[in-house]
């Protein structure tokens, strides 16, 4: 003998599903509704403080906070087109001494320097000493006309192009201009092996062929 009512578990009405205290025509029990309300309210309240806090912490990834600065490194006749002259520039003045970095500057030499199609040439070549492998400081050796990195043996030629060792792209350069007889140094840019300009990348980031999409340009640079 089985006179218990038959329940249809797949019905959308709580009454058909045999839930105690169900009202006719009701699809959600009050208990379930309150559970949902509490979860949604709690979720909104949590999001209300976590999302702004996360945005606050992650914000610097999406904005370029360093304005273009032009820093004078001396009069034009300090520099020639045959050899590099070392200069110290203040890349990040806010952090004091650690923000200073050495660069090597010479005048653009039409006979030795490659011209890149569809790209204006900079009047002066300002080479960054940040090695394109792990960021160690490279040094220019006048006798061999090469840049040499002390950490892992990276060697770069006269134009900062990779000649040996682990570096993945030429040395970075800086934009240059001449204002009132003074050579001025601007923002950093990176180069691929054809010396084509790219927005600045971190050391270790390849730039040739498909690599440029694996290490894309970022909003901060």
């Amino acid at each position: 003998m089985d006179d218990s009512p038959k329940f249809d578990k797949s019905s959308r009405y709580t009454e058909d599903r045999g839930i105690a205290g169900a009202f006719p025509g009701e699809t959600v029990t009050r208990r379930r509704f309150m559970e949902g309300t509490v979860l949604v309210t709690g979720g909104i309240a949590t999001m209300a403080f976590t999302l702004p806090a996360l945005g606050f912490a992650l914000g610097p990834i999406f904005e370029d906070t360093t304005p273009t600065r032009w820093e004078s490194v001396g009069p034009t006749n300090d520099f020639n087109d045959e050899t590099y002259v070392p200069r110290v520039i203040n890349l990040i003045p806010e952090v004091g001494d650690p923000g200073k970095t050495t660069i090597y500057v010479r005048r653009f030499n039409p006979e030795r320097d490659k011209e890149v199609d569809g790209q204006d040439t900079q009047p002066y070549v300002a080479i960054s000493t940040r090695c394109a492998h792990a960021g160690c400081p490279v040094r220019y050796i006048q006798a061999s006309q090469k840049f040499v990195c002390p950490c892992h043996g990276g060697v770069y030629g006269f134009e900062g192009d990779v000649e040996g060792g682990p570096p993945v792209r030429p040395l970075d350069r800086f934009y240059t201009r001449v204002e009132a007889g003074q050579v001025e140094i601007g923002d950093r840019f990176s180069l691929d092996s054809e010396l084509k300009r790219f927005s600045p990348r971190d050391p270790g980031n390849h730039l040739d062929g498909l690599w440029q999409y694996i290490y894309p340009s970022r909003p901060t640079t």
Partner: protein, 266 residues
Amino acid sequence: MKLLRPAPPRPGRNGPNGPNGPPPAAKPGVKEKAVEGTAGVVGWLDERTGTTPFLRFLVYRKVPKGTNWYYTLGSATLFAFLSQAVTGVFLAMFYEPDPTRAYESASRITNEVFLGEFVRGMHKWGATVMIILIFLHMARVFFFGAYKYPRELNWLIGVTLLVLVLMMGLTGYLLPFDQRSFWATVVASNITAAGPFVGPYLADFLRAGAEFGPTTIARFYSLHMLVLPGLIIALILAHLYLVVKLGTTAPPWLKAEKKDLLREEV
């Protein structure tokens, strides 16, 4: 005090409320009062918090035969962490996470603050000790096979803790802000940036920009003393909960015997 309930009668003893004892012979002295009062406070707290049954459950667990000194490496790591937390909190009272003042405040801790050299030394060497202990603990768990079912989740939590502790090491290394720590951080963020697709963004997050900037050190400081310790504490609690819930394993050289497997360890 009204808050203190009268002590329950003790069976077989003659007391003020003993079942068949005479009234108290003499007034309790100061010492008796103090002992009684302390016991009263402790009892009051214990009755309301359930500390005794909790501690009994936690401390007097059954452990397998053959449990040896290698099983203390996890607790040793925990104490190394507590030491780091305490010394770190006090170092934070004198340290200034500002690129122009960090080095000076760190050297002031070493050279001028009373016991500053000692506390900073404990924090510095304690970090190394903690990482050594973690690896010893990990080796114990690995070679004893204690990561196997049902303890795989605890192994995963442990590995996450290892990564977090290594990140503590990375972020803490910058804080003295001398040449070594600055360049170590530059290289570390360059290595981070060499990862494909997300690497440059992660490095930007660490540096708060494309280059090591004025807020990088504050960011590392916040990660080092708030974000990472919070995560580590939460995961240590989960780690310990699983240890208590699942119990520890017998050393692998012991054969499981039917009745002899468990014994009371007091």
